[in-house]
Amino acid sequence: MNDVIDRHVKSVFATPAVAFVVLMMIFPIAYTLYLSLHDWYGSTTSPPTFVGVDNYVRIFSNDPRFWDALGRTLLFTGLAVSIQTVLGVAIAVLLHRQFAGRGLVRSLMLLPMIATPVAVALVWRLLFQPELGLLNDMLMAVGLSPSAWVADSSIALFCLVLVDVWEWTSLITLVTLSGLVALPTEPMEAAVVDGASAWQRFWLITLPMVRPVIVIAVVFRLIEALKTFDPIIVITQGGPGFATETLNIYIYNTAFQYQQLGYASALLLVFFAIVFTLAAVTLSFRRGKASS
């Protein structure tokens, strides 16, 4: 008996996970593919009707809302992740030294990432309140005129970027820090001997050495930011108008407000393809960098 198990030990270990993956991931995606070729409004009485690739045709030729949402998704992701990266690395450099309270600071930096996103988003919603929120108090305290924040279409998306930056900058910081700590000291010592300035040392030696670690974290953030859901649904629900409707929110509304389960499935697969393409591109970029 034991022999049998041992001979197939790999499958014994892997089967539950494989079963889960097939059951929970591959099967639903196949089902989504099926639904995406149908019109279905979630009716218990009338089954999905086959419409071929109509749903996809509509996405690419006749759905401006999709393209707007895609643009917003990319803008949100690009902005949020670039700000996080610059800010995150800068803070890491600041923290990369011995000082009293270092452990405490690192613990505090964790809080935005692990606090329940819905809870935090609700607090941000209050912060953005034009009448009650702290942000307008602060603006007025320094003599600026109050803003409508998330109620103003032209800046609502940027407010959400701000929330994302608040939530995730520390990930870049902490990852970079762990990379900095693991660095060999010789090149740095050599550079000091050669009389390189602190700035040169950072730019020419430290940064290139930690770059691989930072890139991993950035890729990871890119993928996650594309999928941002909780803060948007809690703070703006995609509004005002459609000003903060990202793909995730558009698909969610299509499925759960408009009941267009067939069309939502088609949107889903397109979104899925976009996320995977971006992930693949950034990952291969990373591999290329690493081998060079």
Binding site: A17, Y31, A119, L171, S178, F256
Partner: protein
């Protein structure tokens, strides 16, 4: 014996060091403040009366009141929501460990990169891609608003997290221990259970805590799948933003109570959080 100038130089140096340290801490406070003030604001508001909240300008000087906490804890089914969250997060984490630990070991030891890639891909896939088909399937089997549906859906969050974190622990597992177990004639499964798991229990605890936290925090799956009998905390707080004057004090109280356990747990496994969050691709 020091000369006057030496002493002066040293004093100047000390002064400069002091200024530099003070400057550093000032900068540090400046950097940390934006990250912390949201929490401060949340906790402060949770102790404020509606009058103080509506007064229009934020102040830390107010008469604290526990009314909001009383409203939230006694005026709603907060205990039931907490139990729901605990059951869902606890069970899904447990199952994630049972499935994920062997899988992680297989990926780490038997070099099964494809399995690893597939599990990682579930972290890349947008959650909504699973949510819509699962919502329809759960609907058809009458599982909406049940624990089993919630637990299964939360596994989609947990399992990849646990697996990925554990792969790195198992990769670091000392080869000699495995070899000596093999010499003693232990089976592979026996070795895994009796040798590998006990040695990596620290890592397992971290993975478990992290899985628990992520399930506790999950909103996307719960908001659709949980109904009135299984509402988890984030869903409950989101759905109970009452109409009329939104009771921000109560919302902040609920947010504080909901976030507190997560923060405590997470601080226990600090180092691994970053690893878990960054896809398990980091070590050390």
């Amino acid at each position: 014996m020091m000369t006057e100038t030496q002493q002066q130089a040293r004093r100047a140096y000390r002064r400069r060091a002091l200024v530099r340290t003070a400057g550093f801490y000032l900068l540090l406070a400046f950097v940390l403040a934006p990250f912390m003030f949201v929490f401060l604001y949340m906790v402060a508001t949770s102790f404020k009366s509606p009058l103080d909240i509506n007064s229009g300008s934020f102040t830390l000087w107010f008469t604290p009141t526990l009314d909001n906490y009383r409203d939230v804890l006694l005026g709603t089914d907060f205990l039931a929501f907490t139990v729901n969250s605990l059951v869902v997060a606890g069970c899904s984490t447990l199952i994630a460990l049972v499935i994920g630990l062997p899988a992680a070991f297989a990926i780490a030891r038997y070099k099964m990169p494809r399995l690893g890639a597939v599990i990682l891909s579930s972290r890349i896939t947008p959650g909504i891609a699973f949510l819509i088909p699962w919502f329809i399937i759960f609907s058809q089997v009458g599982w909406i608003d049940t624990y089993q549906a919630l637990i299964l859906s939360h596994l989609l969050v947990n399992l990849p997290l646990v697996t990925y974190l554990m792969v790195s622990f198992f990769e670091d597992f000392p080869e000699e221990l495995l070899d000596s177990a093999a010499v003693d004639g232990a089976s592979a499964v026996g070795t895994f259970v009796k040798v590998v798991l006990p040695v990596t229990r620290g890592g397992i605890a971290s993975a478990a805590i992290l899985g628990f936290v992520f399930s506790w925090n999950n909103f996307l799956f719960s908001v659709v799948i949980a109904g009135r009998d299984t509402r988890t905390l984030p869903v409950a707080v989101f759905e109970f933003m009452s109409y009329g004057s939104i009771n921000w004090g109560a919302i902040c109280a609920a947010a504080t109570v909901m976030t507190l356990p997560v923060i405590v747990l997470a601080l226990l496994v600090q180092r691994h959080i970053v690893e878990g969050l960054a896809g398990g691709s980091l070590k050390g």
